[in-house]
Symmetry: C2
Subunit: 360 residues, 2 copies
Amino acid sequence: MKRLKTIDWADDGVVIIDQTRLPGELLYRRIDDVEAMFHAIRELRVRGAPAIGIAAAFGCCLSIADFPEHGSAHDLLILLEKNGDFLADARPTAVNLVWAVNRMKKRARELARSSTIAAMKQGLHAEAVAILEEDRRMGRSIGEHGARLLSDVSSILTHCNAGGLATAEYGTALAPVYVAAEQGKVFTVYADETRPLLQGARITAFELQQAGIPVILMCDNMAATVMAQGKVQAAIVGADRIAANGDTANKIGTYGVALLAKAHRLPFYVAAPSSTFDLNCPTGKGIPIEEREAEEITCGFGKRTAPDNVAVFNPAFDVTPAELISAFVTERGVVRPPFTETIKKVVGGGRDGGGSLLIR
Amino acid sequence: MKRLKTIDWADDGVVIIDQTRLPGELLYRRIDDVEAMFHAIRELRVRGAPAIGIAAAFGCCLSIADFPEHGSAHDLLILLEKNGDFLADARPTAVNLVWAVNRMKKRARELARSSTIAAMKQGLHAEAVAILEEDRRMGRSIGEHGARLLSDVSSILTHCNAGGLATAEYGTALAPVYVAAEQGKVFTVYADETRPLLQGARITAFELQQAGIPVILMCDNMAATVMAQGKVQAAIVGADRIAANGDTANKIGTYGVALLAKAHRLPFYVAAPSSTFDLNCPTGKGIPIEEREAEEITCGFGKRTAPDNVAVFNPAFDVTPAELISAFVTERGVVRPPFTETIKKVVGGGRDGGGSLLIR
């Protein structure tokens, strides 16, 4: 099975797949400085909550690459914190971005105590690579837990792209599909195209097709019919930020899919690494929602499709209330209600705190 | 207030607004023969269930325009029936198309008994004009009933285009908005863009903007958020065919909007002339659903937005079960549950059978 490398470090720079060019072109783009990384994140050239966490970590490394060997550790720390905060502002909703930046800052503070500048740079690079490698392992683990959870299901609906191209490799929502395929089970995936930016049509359909997984593309407003006709037995999506009570911010349209799944008595799953849970955010009300430009809706296809000067509502995300979510699939296991308790257990244990804390 | 003339007869031909050119261009296109009318209907240059009924009636007139004055009434009848059936096949879901063709055939049979060829042509032309004029009056009447029904509402959500451009003038779902505006009340309309063909973005937003009504355009998958945030107090849509039990076929995505309205405890209204009810169709299961080309989704706007050869699901309509519909707004009044009884009353009375049969 062919899985693409969304983001990687190569020759003192970062190489990403430019996702704004998909599906027409598989373009690998080299990024050499922190400004370019900021814009790559903001313009969605690299996207997906886990992937932009990795991108921010690498961006931190790029931002200190030219720091002089004879400089002070304190100055390097200040530079890294400033650039980290700059990167963290590229998009407001995904918690992984802030999480990755904070992890890099923390590691920098540790290293500053006793290391040379060269060793600090090396240590920070190792930390960013660790974030990427952990993400790969997390995707695999989410896939294993998810494949078991979906053992009675043969056809799923997904929204946006929470696949390999949103992460380092396996993805989150699509990880169970890839792991199942390795185990010889082939899912059929109904992919919402996901307006306005069509991540479902451009990216999910592309990566599943590349991997040889049957995918059926449709418009967002066809999901209700697909469910009513019994074409899918579950819906599974990714997440950009999950509050302590389980309320989940994800791509606009997710909340609607969750309501439709409930109306058709289908399970609705959210797949995300434990770093997506934000215990500092008690409920979904505390999650900032990015609003984007009107032009994404009025001329998204390279052609103006709405009258000039029309007013537009264009939130990039919505919040799905916890009560619509059947379970979370994390790298540590499947998290079921009551979420206020179970989430605290899975996240409270520390990020690397001991594998599968929760038994299915 | 500026309302556009969707379709009209002029100088022995038909003039339509070519709706595939909106919103970029307000192009009036002349149609001179039945083949051209068939293609105008099939390619959605003229669209909306009531408007394509009018188009088919005019198409019937065009199809006999060159019939020789010395020919037999029987032959003219056969020609009209053949061309009527041809037009009725242009699109499968809207009942108004078949209804208008049947009405023209019936009138032709009446006229054939005693009229000259010239008088038959004249009589049929008068019948087509009558269909158009009745549609105008029906829109106005739907608007009056709807404006009363929505008297406590200031902001509505609509899907697709059931406005003036779907009919001769006032529209169905938007008729209450236009009538209210004449009465000095200004609604705010949230318009779903309505993928794949973007009738909401291209047509609803255009005609409301032309009329000076506040309209806010959004993607279909934002409707749930608009409802959750209390931005609208009701949803109202048109219909292509309504079964005897109230099950309603309308543009794909309508069923989803109805489910979302229910989840947010908002009323969901369907506005349609009584000719849209099909008593020969007991439930929604009997309504044929048109499936359209994959390219509408994969390269809808002159740009390919999905990988080559991807499988696509593209139903043009869906069926909303009667139990999700709060009421129908017809030219004869507001029809409330139990629909199996009330629909029979409103439609059974004959199409011109006496004004508002049902009191709100």
